[in-house]
Symmetry: C2
Subunit: 81 residues, 2 copies
């Protein structure tokens, strides 16, 4: 059984209002050194059945079809055997 | 300047309704091998000013004070120099 970890973030050119709000809150708590904070989604799943060589392409396809919105989001896939 | 990457997930003992829904949707799209899918948050930020040795403890503190809810969520911090 393999494990996949997917992180999905807004593209750099898209304003991340949620991230800006959290960054301001951290500044108010005294963490002045925090900058460029961005918030995204994290998805982890187990993968059974498919051959290991096909997994990266399969998870990539899942992201494009369902998990992410490729118009405004970037995604990054890590597979752990 | 260092970079921190934080992943926040519901504790294993807490039901993840959103994750279950997405897992079912993937099954319906033909990805039958997907199991135990869980959805969480991903936060990345730049860290300036503080000494590198203090960063892990500082980000850990941010998670406990603001970013995560330690009662129901686990978090994992990675620092990249």
């Amino acid at each position: 059984m393999a494990k996949a970890r997917v992180t999905i973030t807004l593209k750099k050119t898209i304003m991340d209002a949620q991230g800006q709000t959290v960054e301001k809150a951290l500044h108010n708590l005294g963490y002045e050194g925090v900058g460029n904070l961005r918030i995204g989604k994290y998805i982890e799943m187990e993968l059974n059945g498919a051959p290991a060589t096909e997994l990266p392409a399969q998870v990539d396809e899942m992201c494009r079809r369902l998990l992410a919105n490729p118009i405004i989001e970037d995604f990054h896939v890590e597979i752990e055997e």
